[in-house]
Each structure stands twice: as C-alpha cells, then as structure tokens.
C-alpha cells in the first residue's frame, strides 16, 4: 500500500517536473539552432548556431537588445534599492516607536496591500505626463518607496528578530535614531533584505503593464516591451533562431540568480504568506 502510494507520488512529481521543464528545454535547444533547422521540427539535440544567433540578435538594428537589457537592469536595481530602504525604514518607524497614529498607519498599509496598481493607471499616467516624465525611469523608481507587501514582510521579520534593547543600547551610546537605523538595524535585517531583493528584482524585471504604457521611446524599452514588439512583428519573416535567443536572453538573469539562491527563495515564499 505505502509502496503504491510512493510510486504514485513520484510518478506525479516526475510528470509535473517534465511539464515545468520541457518548454524551457525546447527553448534552450532551439536557441542553438538556425532558422531552417527550427522549422524542421523539434529535436532533443542542440544545433551549432548558438553564437551565430546571439550575434544576430544583438546586432539586429530593429531590436535594441543590449540597450533594453541595460534599461531592465537600471529599472530593476533602482526599484530594488528604493523598495528595500524605504520599506524597512517604514517598518522600523512603526515597529520601534510609539506614536498616536501608529496603529492607524499599520492598518492603512495592510488595507492598501492588495489593491492592484492597474486601477490607478489612468490617474498615474496623467500625473506622469503633467510632470513631463514619460520615457523616464523616475516614475517607476520613486513610487517604489511605498511598497506595502515588502513593508509587511519586513515588519513581520522585525517582530521576530529585532529587540528594543538593541535600539536602547545604541541610544545610550549616543547614536541618533537615524544612525541607529542605518548602522544597526539595516545590517540586522540582511536575511530579510536578501529575500525581498530577489522578489522585487524578479517582479520589476518581468513587469510589463506600466512600462509598456509609459516607455514608448525605443531607447527606453525594457526587455518585456521588446518581446511584445517581437510578437507584433511579422514573425513569418523573422529568424526563429533569433526569436528563441531573445526569449532565452530575457529570462536568463533571473534563472541564474534563482538557481544559485533557490534554497532561500523557496524558504522566503512561505515566510511571506500568512500562518494558517
């Protein structure tokens, strides 16, 4: 009985693993094959055109791939820094101090946590246009200072690890509150910061809705926008080796980071949820 159940569970798991990996295996194989080879159908063996496809993609005058990759990095790193610093600062403000609006501020942030950004998109776009900030990363990076989800993660982490004694000890040593935060609290939050850095980076790297509406200058395109343009192009005339290579390049950075840090990421997923 237990043997049968064990067999069933492994069989199901292997099926799901194949389902998850197969699309990316095809991607990997086809990125190494030339257009004509791709058209001939799928093969389990790589071709010899990887370098060629790579060169063609980055030299394609219609596809500013390098520019888009740099843009994606600027956007993601800028957002990560803002999200981490200000979410932790806000969490610290509410966790460590007693003030009249403390409870209200906490409840308010929880209330707005689940509200989708798309619903304020209209007002946001008009605001950005009034500020003359279309085709700039500023309207993405500055608003990242208010990130309720990361705030919630940080304050939950502080509840379990950050004791008030540490702050009081720093006070006695003559540290002012701001210095205490920067020099003592931030370093203590490193594990939580690392988890949130990854999630924020991935989320921003992959984000498509707002960037597509505000970054219409080709010099400001990010990778998801480039992919949507590729989808809109007449793909029949397009070199499929390049198509697969571009898809591969755009997911490569997060996959590499994920494979290195997967242990912490998987642990972070359950940490972010609520306890049953």
């Amino acid at each position: 009985m237990i043997k049968l159940r064990r067999f069933l569970s492994y069989a199901t798991l292997i099926f799901l693993v194949l389902l998850c990996l197969f699309p990316f295996f095809v991607l990997l194989m086809n990125a190494t094959r030339a257009h004509a080879e791709v058209l001939r159908g799928f093969s389990f063996f790589p071709g010899a055109s990887m370098v060629n496809n790579f060169r063609n993609v980055i030299e394609n005058p219609n596809m500013p791939v390098i520019r888009a990759t740099i843009n994606s990095f600027i956007l993601a790193i800028g957002t990560v820094l803002m999200v981490l610093y200000f979410s932790t600062l806000t969490a610290f403000g509410i966790h460590a101090y007693n003030f009249k609006l403390k409870k209200f501020a906490f409840v308010f942030i929880l209330l707005i946590m689940m509200l989708p950004v798309q619903l304020s998109a209209l007002g946001f776009i008009r605001l950005v246009e009034t500020m003359n900030l279309r085709n700039s990363f500023i309207p993405f990076i500055i608003p990242a200072a208010a990130s309720p989800v990361t705030f919630f993660f940080m304050i939950q982490y502080m509840k379990s690890t950050l004791s008030v004694e540490i702050i009081e000890a720093a006070r006695i040593d003559g540290s002012n509150e701001f210095m205490t935060f920067n020099r003592i609290v931030l370093p203590l939050m490193k594990p939580a910061l690392a988890v949130q850095a990854i999630f924020t980076f991935v989320g921003t790297w992959n984000s498509f809705f707002m960037p597509a509406l505000l970054l219409d200058d080709p010099d400001m395109h990010t990778l998801p926008i480039l992919i949507s343009r590729l989808r809109g192009a007449d793909f029949l005339n397009f070199d499929l080796g390049q198509v697969y290579m571009l898809i591969g390049l755009s997911i490569l950075p997060v996959v590499v980071v994920y494979l290195i840090l997967s242990k912490y990421i998987v642990a972070g997923v359950s940490l972010g949820g609520v306890k049953g």
Binding site: L13, C20, F42, I94, P116, S120, I265
Partner: protein
C-alpha cells in the same frame, strides 16, 4: 531635574519621520492618481485627428456606456464578456492548481511516505513562477504555432493530418492560457500549503493513525479543516491576481484577445482604453473594477490582519 527631563524625551517624532516618505510617496503616486481616475471618469475626452477634444463634463455617461452593450441593455455589455473570459481562464488554471498543490503538499509533508529529493522538486516546480510572463507567452506562442514543435510532433506521430491552429479556437487559446497560469503558480501554492500543513501538531496525525484512519481520512478530516484559513487566503489572493490577468493573453494573442474577443481580459480592455487615450471610458472602467476589487481586498485584509494581530511571521 536634568535626569527627569532626559527620561521624558519622546521618540514619537522619529516614528513620524520614518514613516513619512512612505505616506508622501503613496499620496502623490497612488492616492492622488486613484482620486483623479474617479474624477476623469465623469468627463469625456476624445481625439479628432491629432486634436484633443474635451474634457467635457458628462456626468455618469461613461458609466452607462461601460455597463450597457450595443443594444442598450445591461447584460449585453462587453464588461460581462471580459469578466467572464477572465474568470474562466483563471479557473482553468486555478482548479488544477489547487488540486495539484494540495496533493503535492500532503505528499511532501507525509512522514511515512518520506519522499526523497524534496529540495530538487520544490526548486523545479517554483521555477516557472520567476519566468517573465511576456517571454513565457512568446515561447508558448512559438511552441503551439502552426509551424511550431508541438504541431511538428503531432504531424510526425500521425495524430493529426494538418497543423492544428490552437490559437484560432476559443478552447485552444483559453486552454493554453489556463495551462500557463497553472504551470506558473502551482509551485507557489504548494509551498504555501506545505507551510500550513507543517504547522499542524504531529500528535493529531499519530493519534489518527493509531485509531486506524486511512491517509484519505486523515487528509479530509484533519488536514483540510486545519489548513482552511490559508486555503481561503490562497484562493482570494489568487482570484485578485487572476482578475489582473494581462501579460500572458496580451502577448499570446498579440493584444487582440482573439479569437473573437474570447481571451480579452478586463485589464487588457482597460489597456486598450489607456492606449487609445480614451480617458473617460478608462476612468469609468477603472472605477468599477476598483469597487469590485476593493471588496475582495477587504477579505484578504481580514485574514492578514487577524494573523498579524495574533503573532509572529509565518514560519
């Protein structure tokens, strides 16, 4: 005297200083845009050629236009069609997702089953969640294309005689979108449910086993009732995420929501209005969605607030 004064130093102002950036930024970039979105919903604005006309105050006209169809009746509105599309595609991913996740989480946490290589399995099933949805959609579009590998394989194995045009059929297009949502999210749900199941007191399982309960009984009568709160949380957050569905159908169908608008989601439609600068309609549409989603958010808030009040982080 001096000592008393020093003791009386209030640090409250630092609390305000530290939370100020969050609230200032939130007010400018979220609160104000939300209010303006509602405000714009009462005005008409349109383009004739390159000239912007309006804004003209039109009262609730935009809302009437969003809520009624071409024949003027309430239920023929596109809104319902797009809502239904979104809901169906969410369910196509969510139903298998919750089933698979419950099964996997129960297996992973079953000590008698003692599954090996759990780290590897968890790493792989969570992997699709971090993949750029736009890139994944482009990939699936290529795979299911008439000249793509799926069709090539079906042809070679003589399953079909001519290429299947998956994306030209409603079932095919919705099915692929549901499949992608499933692949991207079941790992995430499995991990959340596992955390919930590992929080159950093992003595309960041991007692049930001694009483001769089968694994099926244990699952339905002990595990399920005890993880109910997190199950509700997973379901509502997934529904909120599902209602925001955009990237996958947008890229997969090249913005068309085809075939025949059957994969057009609510947010894709909002995006159309925003893109064509039809701000009055976009405003009314956003405002209506806002009200609906706020109700759902409130449910999540209740779950999270109860939990935050009752103690530490979920580990």
């Amino acid at each position: 005297m001096a000592k008393i004064k020093a003791k009386g130093v209030s640090y409250a102002k630092w609390g305000y200083i530290f939370i100020a950036p969050f609230f200032i930024v939130f007010s400018i970039f979220t609160l104000y845009p939300v209010l303006m979105t509602f405000y714009y919903s009462f005005f008409e604005r349109f383009m004739i050629g390159l000239n912007q006309h309006g804004p003209y105050y039109v009262g609730l006209d935009n809302y009437v236009a969003v809520l009624t169809g071409a024949d003027g009746s309430f239920f023929s509105s596109n809104l319902w069609q797009y809502f239904l599309n979104t809901l169906i595609m969410w369910l196509l991913g969510f139903v298998p997702q919750i089933a698979a996740s419950l099964l996997l989480a129960a297996w992973f946490t079953d000590l008698r089953l003692n599954l090996k290589m759990q780290g590897f399995f968890k790493t792989v099933i969570y992997l699709p969640n971090i993949i750029m949805a736009a890139a994944f959609s482009m990939l699936m579009f290529q795979l299911f294309d008439t000249i793509g590998p799926v069709n090539a394989t079906l042809l070679r194995m003589d399953v079909v005689e001519e290429p299947v045009r998956f994306l030209s059929s409603t079932m095919g297009a919705r099915g692929i979108i549901g499949l992608m949502n499933f692949i991207m999210w079941f790992g995430n749900t499995t991990i959340l449910l596992m955390a919930a199941m590992m929080g159950i007191d093992p003595a309960l399982f041991e007692a049930a086993e001694i009483d001769g309960a089968s694994p099926r009984d244990i699952f339905w009568k002990i595990t399920m009732p005890l993880i109910n709160p997190i199950l509700v949380y997973v379901m509502i957050t997934s529904m909120i995420g599902g209602l925001q569905m955009f990237d996958i159908p947008q890229i997969l169908t090249n913005t068309s929501g085809g075939p025949n608008n059957t994969t057009m989601t609510l947010i894709m439609h909002l995006n159309q209005h925003l893109f064509s600068r039809n701000f009055g309609m976009a405003g009314a549409f956003s405002a209506l969605l806002f009200i609906g989603m706020s109700a759902l958010s409130l449910l999540v808030f209740k779950t999270v607030a109860n939990n935050a009040a009752s103690g530490g982080p979920g580990h």
